[in-house]
Symmetry: C2
Subunit: 215 residues, 2 copies
Amino acid sequence: MRMSELSETCGVAVPTIKYYIREGLLPPGERTSATQASYDEAHVKRIRLIRALIDIGGLPVATAARVLAAVDDTDLPLSHVFGVAQLAISHDDLYAPVDDDSPGLATVTRAAADRGWQVTDNNPGRQGAARVLDAYAALGYSPLAGLSPAYLEAAELIARADLEAVAERTAIEDMAETVVVGTVLGDALVAALRRIAQEHVAVQLFAGVGGAGDE
Amino acid sequence: MRMSELSETCGVAVPTIKYYIREGLLPPGERTSATQASYDEAHVKRIRLIRALIDIGGLPVATAARVLAAVDDTDLPLSHVFGVAQLAISHDDLYAPVDDDSPGLATVTRAAADRGWQVTDNNPGRQGAARVLDAYAALGYSPLAGLSPAYLEAAELIARADLEAVAERTAIEDMAETVVVGTVLGDALVAALRRIAQEHVAVQLFAGVGGAGDE
């Protein structure tokens, strides 16, 4: 198909498509003449993946490009794709390394060990969780606030479902893409389902509890 | 304390503190002379809350201001604070309403009903989850991709822990703040713990599975 058709199929403007090609997110089409190129289903699929990373994952274009390069690099071990996706899809403020003497880091390390989780020092989640716990403490909450057994159990349930979905893919390239899609869309899905479940549980717990106007 | 001490205690620059006051995120200090004002522990705590919303939640300042206004409005029913926090802390791209005929919305609605979740039509999580499922479908994944029983169970575990933490607070103002803190920090914590748990599960499942170079 021509670029105008690709644009219509995906609902993405032609200048945006040209921008994705220029930035290396989308491979160029097959040249059919000096001024024309032809695009196929693989381009449609790739544009949808780009939009999912940007619109749902909230990734900047440069970050999406880095994640996609990892997906495309079939020489990269799957564990590395995982790491790139994990690091890339969340803002640095959260996942950047905390100080070695962060009390939150000690708490996370102990909680992970108690649960039997094997985790390397440079797992970005350790840093992110430590940062969150330190923020809770700074706000005057208990040092264990948030790190309830329920959260740990939920994280393991989710991770197991994630990895089983990856394991169902037979080709390495598909696995890498599944990791990226699942990491980005999965974070968003968990956050969204949490809001639905909160409303359900809140109605049960707080029926009638309101502000001064209600009492 | 004076503003310079407040700045030092919180590690936030004086111009930034002035900006928070101007934008309504932080109440002004008590005026002690024509050019001086005095700040107390409540200001320290509020600045830490602002930093948690911005640095960990990734909220823009204007959004943080809206969330804090809801926390400060003690006439607002708690359920409303919940809604404001839920809506505010996530980017509009994810939680904006989807089309009524979104296949993902039908799937989410059915899954929630099957689980016995009571949820109103305008719960932002319904829209966000629907958008994620539609994105999975556009990428060629099964319409149920991601919405595994494990995800639903995990969301309910998390929500119950969240609401129990809120219920422990006795004062309405504390409850409202706990909702906001827990929503923002909780999303980040779940995402971080998911990454830790994924590494643990991945090591078990994929030991030795790599790219072409490994095989």
